[in-house]
């Protein structure tokens, strides 16, 4: 374990910067997001989590796939340095592992390399994740509904705890341990530190909502596709797309060409099932043109279809959608509604 004084964080970040491009939570206007930083002084410490998720570090909102011209196709070159992310919370670390199942591992056909996304792998495979414990979960947090915990270490390379005046770092993966072994700490971790961490963990867990048994969620979802519940659930949704953009697990994308004549570029960009033309086909037919259909699509994707394909819920309870929604459509309420729902049209087996 490595113990750093908070006032010495700059020294650690400079050390990290030698081998990595460092990303961390920082101010972006009036909100917070993960951006590449040049010094520890840019890091925003006084928040539980950012408003925008770190998915755009590895899955950028717009990414040039290639440029085309008379000379052929040209794939953009990436910087040499691997990425390190400071200050990631367990909900985001878990989300990235889910996105890795989709983009990096081609989960359903893992031996087919052609389905693995090289743009994702270039950034994610070599990255170093500093998973920081949440000392004070927000009222919108519900990671414990989906196997999360404010002090979870799953997926971390290095686990970090803020103990008021210090950061205590623990190597979790081989990569993380190897990195920490290279840093010469100024202080030794004591038993008092470990006791403090245990105390902080207990306090953090007390902030979370009552644990909900989400296991029946998949089964209920499978039965209610054509039930009238969706009219009520979707009634106030304005299909603005804010939830999908702040969500760390949402990963639908569109491909767009921007060019003139013989020169241009092909760009992958974030799409959203909330957008009206999400399923509009070249013929003009739009199978999910109504708001109610698209809200149902989003909820079922997260809590049913993704389970079919990837054996887990596509949600980590980070609560960003609850914060961002302009009409206060609370996904926690939707989950509870689905769990409590008595079937009307279909037989309850």
């Amino acid at each position: 374990m490595v113990k750093i004084k908070k006032t010495d964080l700059n020294v650690f970040i400079e050390f990290l910067k030698k081998d990595f491009d460092v990303f961390a939570p920082t101010d972006v206007g009036k909100k917070a997001a993960f951006r590449k930083i040049n010094s520890a002084f840019e890091i925003k410490h006084d928040i539980t989590n950012t408003h925008l998720s770190p998915k755009d570090i590895f899955f950028p909102q717009s990414e040039v796939l290639f440029k085309y011209s008379d000379d052929g196709l040209k794939v953009p070159e990436r910087d040499e340095k691997p990425i390190a992310v400071w200050g990631m919370k367990n909900c985001d670390t878990s989300s990235l592992m889910m996105l890795n199942k989709v983009f990096g591992d081609a989960h359903q056909m893992p031996d087919k390399d052609m389905y693995k996304d090289p743009y994702w792998k270039m950034k994610y495979d070599n990255c170093l994740i500093f998973n920081q414990a949440c000392n004070e979960p927000l009222s919108t947090c519900f990671c414990n509904w989906f196997d999360g915990n404010p002090f979870a270490k799953k997926g971390a390379d290095i686990f970090v705890v803020d103990t008021t005046d210090h950061f205590i770092l623990e190597g979790i993966s081989d990569k993380g341990e190897a990195f920490l072994a290279m840093y010469k700490p100024s202080e030794e971790t004591t038993k008092a530190d470990l006791d403090k961490i245990a105390e902080l963990k207990k306090t953090a867990e007390s902030y979370l909502p009552e644990k909900l048994d989400a296991k029946p969620l998949y089964n209920n979802m499978s039965k209610i596709w054509d039930e009238p519940i969706w009219e009520e659930v979707s009634a106030k949704c304005i299909n603005c797309g804010a939830c999908t953009f702040v969500c760390p697990t949402c990963h639908c994308f569109d491909v767009s060409d921007e060019g003139k004549g013989k020169k241009g570029k092909r760009i992958r960009l974030w799409d959203s099932c909330m957008f009206q033309i999400f399923t509009r086909e070249a013929s003009g037919h739009n199978p999910r043109g109504l708001s109610v259909q698209r809200v149902r699509q989003r909820i079922m994707h997260k809590y049913n279809y993704f389970v079919d394909n990837y054996e887990q819920y596509l949600c980590t309870g980070c609560g960003r959608c609850v914060q961002a929604c302009p009409v206060n459509l609370d996904i926690r309420e939707v989950i509870k509604q689905v769990l409590d729902y008595k079937l009307i049209k279909n037989e309850d087996n």
Binding site: V28, G29, L52, Q61, S62, I238, C240, Q276, P326
Partner: protein
């Protein structure tokens, strides 16, 4: 004091580079009710879909012009924006232009014909050549 033109342009670039193009502002707006929004058209494609600042500024400029003389400053767009953009910096300018050119303030007189939906033979035409 008042900012110079350069300072104002720099502010707009800085602010709108944060736009994430989620279109929450458009969806929350009571005046945005087009069955097909210009951003969703791709034949022809009017603006790029990426959050590149020039495309984002164009999106907001066009949206503000489309709701010109119908925007009443209800603030739904500002409230819906997940990144807290200063959307009023553009909308208030359009409101001012409408007031100066047509002596019209949207939403104040139910009997008044909307400025962009009515023709007046004597109105200023200085933007037309000749």
């Amino acid at each position: 004091g008042e900012k110079s033109a350069e300072e104002r342009w720099a502010y707009i670039q800085e602010e709108y580079s944060k736009c994430i193009r989620c279109y929450a502002c458009r969806n929350a707006c009571p005046s945005c009710y087009c069955p097909e929004c210009f951003v969703d058209q791709n034949d022809p494609q009017w603006i790029g879909k990426t959050p590149e600042v020039t495309d984002s500024i164009i999106f907001h400029l066009i949206r503000n012009l489309h709701v010109a003389a119908r925007c009443v400053d209800c603030g739904a767009c500002v409230s819906a924006c997940p990144v807290d953009l200063d959307l009023r910096v553009m909308s208030k300018k359009v409101e001012k232009e409408i007031k100066d050119r047509f002596d019209y303030t949207a939403g104040t007189d139910i009997n008044e014909k909307p400025a962009m939906a009515s023709y007046c033979e004597n109105e200023k035409q200085d933007f037309i050549m000749g």
